[in-house]
């Protein structure tokens, strides 16, 4: 039995000007050398607990606190964040907000805390190099931190935490902006750190990731401890986890389909592989994904022809991108961090102009048309919704876009009401967007774009920070869009989400499209490419590990994907 290194006793914290406590009577003990995951729905208190353990309360977040907390022998309620750094550090969910702004290079940023703590230069260099290699960003060491993509910044701030090497590392949704290979690599790294005696605490929404890498799972709900136990017990029970992992959904579906030979539900991919009987023919599809044979309009709604783009420093970002999007399609735009996904997205509505090649919407080249004039054709929900929200109420926020389109007020009202309904925001219509939890705020931003009823709607990392309920709402909103004939583009690292919500996958690598196919038509080679670049959705991964090749696996894969819906 390891020693207790983190403990709280009857810990309650209420933010200033709030009546309901964010943490309520929390008592827990965490042993050293373990990976402990904290899960729970939006507003459960996960981020509050992470910030509190790192010493941010009440120094940065004012409020009323009672009870005790001890981290590596220190009280985070009494010590400053920097005084706690030799004992504990935290990686928060928004990477861009954790960049000090002092350092001009990634390496400098990663080593900045060590410099301030007075470590010898040789040791700093060694730790920085090691952390950069661990997070696979050694090639970015001399880049300016603010010029990195969101995912690269996330890797950088994790590297900065790893370089500090404290006995307790706290992560608040560390995977939110990372591509799947990096997410998996981070899991392995955290396990390795735990094996060396480090204590890892991770607040996370990805239950499959938690099941794969955590030793123990704490479930918070409304600031209180809802459940506590090993991943198999917690993640294997939707009631305990307050959500269902994709593995659990898939094994439940497999049981219903008669291809599950185990008795207990699966919580990890290994259990899925062991449990699914690849020799049994699964039942026919009830809701097949759209196939190539489905009618496709002759005219693409958006076309990129030989698009090339480079940033002012001369580094090419997009190279010879040829692409056609059709009305009613649901497309997953995938790629590793820095592959050029966001840059390509910005070309779709003229926010960026190609250096060579053309982008056409409904057959008309965008040319020098102002992006705003294309909103009826193409609109984007960006990752950081703070840049979008400004109105005093959810209703006013959603109404802003339609008010710019020159449509009648009756039509504006219809669109606003429809968007609020589809994003389940009617009850919050009069609320200020910033008074809502982050997950609901993201839905407000999505509703504001849905109300434009554009021909193409793009969502950049739409599931980041969303809990199960919000993801369900988002899924329904996407379905409503495509049912109305609109095209939806998802730029995401959430493979299970996009595999179940899209028909077609486009894979970018090094600014080039290296794969463009329907999920139903992926060949073995393409599945290998996908696996190498960004990993595989669970259904495909299970089939692959079961030794089923694409030709015969297709049925299983698609059925599996259907099971995840």
């Amino acid at each position: 039995m390891n020693d207790t290194i983190v403990s709280t006793s009857d810990l309650t914290f209420t933010y200033a000007r709030r009546s309901t406590p964010a943490l309520h009577g929390l008592t827990m003990q965490i042993e050293s050398g373990t990976v402990t995951a904290i899960i729970g729905p939006a507003g459960a208190g996960k981020s509050t607990l992470c910030a509190l353990l790192a010493g941010f309360m009440p120094q940065f977040f004012r409020g009323v606190v009672s009870g005790t907390a001890v981290v590596d022998g220190q009280s985070p309620l009494d010590a400053s964040v920097h005084a706690l750094l030799p004992h504990v550090t935290v990686v928060l969910s928004q990477a861009s907000t954790q960049i000090s702004g002092v350092c001009d290079t990634v390496a400098g940023e990663v080593g900045f805390a060590l410099q301030n703590l007075g470590f010898p230069v040789a040791e700093i260099r060694g730790r920085v190099t090691e952390a950069l290699i661990t997070m696979e960003i050694a090639h970015l060491a001399e880049r300016f931190p603010f010029q990195l993509s969101g995912g690269q910044q996330q890797r950088m701030v994790i590297a900065a935490a790893l370089a500090l090497n404290p006995p307790v590392l706290v992560f608040d949704e560390p995977t939110a902006q990372l591509d799947p290979p990096t997410v998996a690599a981070l899991g392995v790294t955290l396990r390795q750190l735990a094996a060396t005696g480090k204590t890892i605490i991770v607040a996370e929404q990805h239950l499959d990731w938690v099941a794969a890498y955590a030793d123990r799972v704490l479930v918070l709900n409304k600031g209180q401890m809802h459940a506590d136990g090993p991943p198999a017990d917690i993640i294997g029970s939707a009631g305990a986890a307050l959500g269902r992992s994709y593995a659990l959904r898939l094994s439940t579906f497999a049981t219903k389909s008669g291809i599950w030979r185990d008795t207990a539900p699966a919580t990890t991919i290994d259990e899925l592989v062991a449990g699914i009987d690849p020799t049994t023919q699964p039942p026919p599809f009830t809701k097949p994904l759209r196939a190539a044979s489905d009618a496709i309009p002759a005219q693409p709604v958006l076309e990129c022809a030989s698009v090339q783009f480079a940033y002012p420093n001369g580094i090419p970002v997009l190279t010879d991108v040829d692409l056609m999007l059709y009305r009613g399609e649901r497309i997953a735009l995938l790629g590793r961090n820095g592959a050029g996904k966001s840059t390509l997205l910005r070309h779709f509505n003229g926010l960026l102009r190609p250096h060579a090649g053309t982008v056409s919407v409904n057959g008309i080249p965008i040319g020098k048309r102002a992006p705003g004039t294309l909103a009826q054709q193409m609109s984007i929900v960006f990752q950081d919704v703070r840049n979008q929200l400004f109105a005093a109420s959810v209703q006013a926020e959603v109404a802003y876009g339609p008010s710019l389109l020159g449509i009648t007020s009756a039509e504006q009202t219809r669109r606003v009401e429809s968007a609020l309904a589809v994003c389940a925001l009617q009850s919050d219509a009069g609320t200020h967007p910033y008074d809502l939890p982050v997950a609901r705020r993201r839905l407000v931003a999505t509703a504001a774009i849905m109300a434009l009823e554009s021909d193409i709607i793009a969502l950049d990392e739409p599931t980041a920070g969303l809990d199960d309920d919000s993801i369900k709402t988002l899924t329904e909103a996407i379905s409503a869009c495509t049912a109305a004939g609109r095209t939806v583009v998802l730029v995401t690292h959430d493979l299970n989400f996009c595999a179940t919500q899209t028909d077609r996958v486009i894979l970018l690598a090094g600014g080039r499209i290296i794969l463009d196919a329907r999920w139903t038509e992926l060949t073995d080679t393409q599945i290998d490419v996908l696996a190498e670049q960004v990993g595989l959705p669970l259904g495909f991964d299970v089939a692959r590990r079961c030794g089923i090749t694409a030709g015969t696996a297709l049925h299983v894969c698609i059925t599996a994907a259907e099971g995840l819906r």
Binding site: F60, G101, V102
Partner: protein, 250 residues
């Protein structure tokens, strides 16, 4: 590739800029002010990133020049000496010279400081100041001030993209006015949050730690630069003492 100017010790660049600014503010002559402004521009021209810096200058210079000319040269004609009536407006060459000095002082300040900031990594500038005994609290305030412009620029670009993506088009003054709230609202909220988050980020990087910090970068200095800095400071002190001495001593 850095120019010889870019490679100078941060304090050498800063001292030169302060000397230029000090001279500009103490000079009562339009032509001396103009000469100092030209020297500031020449300093910019020997830096590696001169083309990008020169592209930014009109954004600073034009609004202040226009507004000062309007306010001092035209809108307050009562204070004018030797007035000249032209196209229904009364202006004065003396007043224009006076306002010209003001404009040149401002432009010299912007050019001198902007060149230092754009050619010197923030970390090195702070390191140089810290090595001369600048307290960490002052360093923190300076950092915040230096970071706010690039931060706001990045956020403003992102906000503009987000609002354009939902139909915002700015074509005329009325549309510009209507766009103010959707553009400025998130910027203000973002700036307030950013300051808080930047403070948190610096705290997470142990910026407020009381240890003597280690410096990974070694600042290159030389005896010649040290002498140059001393001469600049000496000249500035002489100038201040001389100016105020002449002005106030009996």
């Amino acid at each position: 590739m850095q120019s010889s100017y870019d490679r100078l010790h941060p304090l050498t660049k800063l001292t030169w800029a302060v000397l230029l600014i000090g001279c500009a503010y103490l000079s009562p002559s339009f032509w001396v002010s103009a000469l100092l402004f030209v020297i500031a521009l020449l300093t910019t021209s020997v830096s590696e990133g001169r083309s990008s810096i020169f592209r930014v200058y009109p954004l600073f210079f034009v609004p202040i020049t226009v507004s000062l000319l309007l306010i001092r040269g035209i809108l307050i004609p009562d204070t004018l000496t030797n007035p000249i009536s032209m196209a229904g407006l009364t202006i004065s060459l003396d007043a224009l010279a006076a306002v010209g000095i003001l404009i040149l002082r401002y432009c010299t300040l912007v050019a001198a400081l902007f060149t230092v900031i754009r050619t010197t990594p923030t970390a090195l500038l702070m390191q140089a100041l810290a090595e001369k005994g600048l307290p960490r609290s002052i360093e923190f305030i300076l950092l915040m001030a230096l970071q706010i412009i690039p931060d706001m620029k990045l956020r403003a670009d992102a906000i503009l993209e987000a609002q354009q993506s939902r139909g915002l088009v700015i074509t005329s003054l009325p549309t510009r006015i209507r766009a103010l709230v959707p553009l400025v609202g998130p910027l203000v909220v973002g700036a307030l949050v950013d300051v808080e988050e930047r403070a948190m980020a610096l705290e997470l990087r142990a910026f407020a730690a009381t240890n003597r910090p280690t410096r990974m970068d070694v600042l290159v200095d030389s005896r010649r630069q040290h002498v140059a800095r001393t001469l600049c400071i000496g000249a500035l002190i002489l100038l201040v003492v001389g100016t105020f001495g002449i002005r106030y001593l009996p």
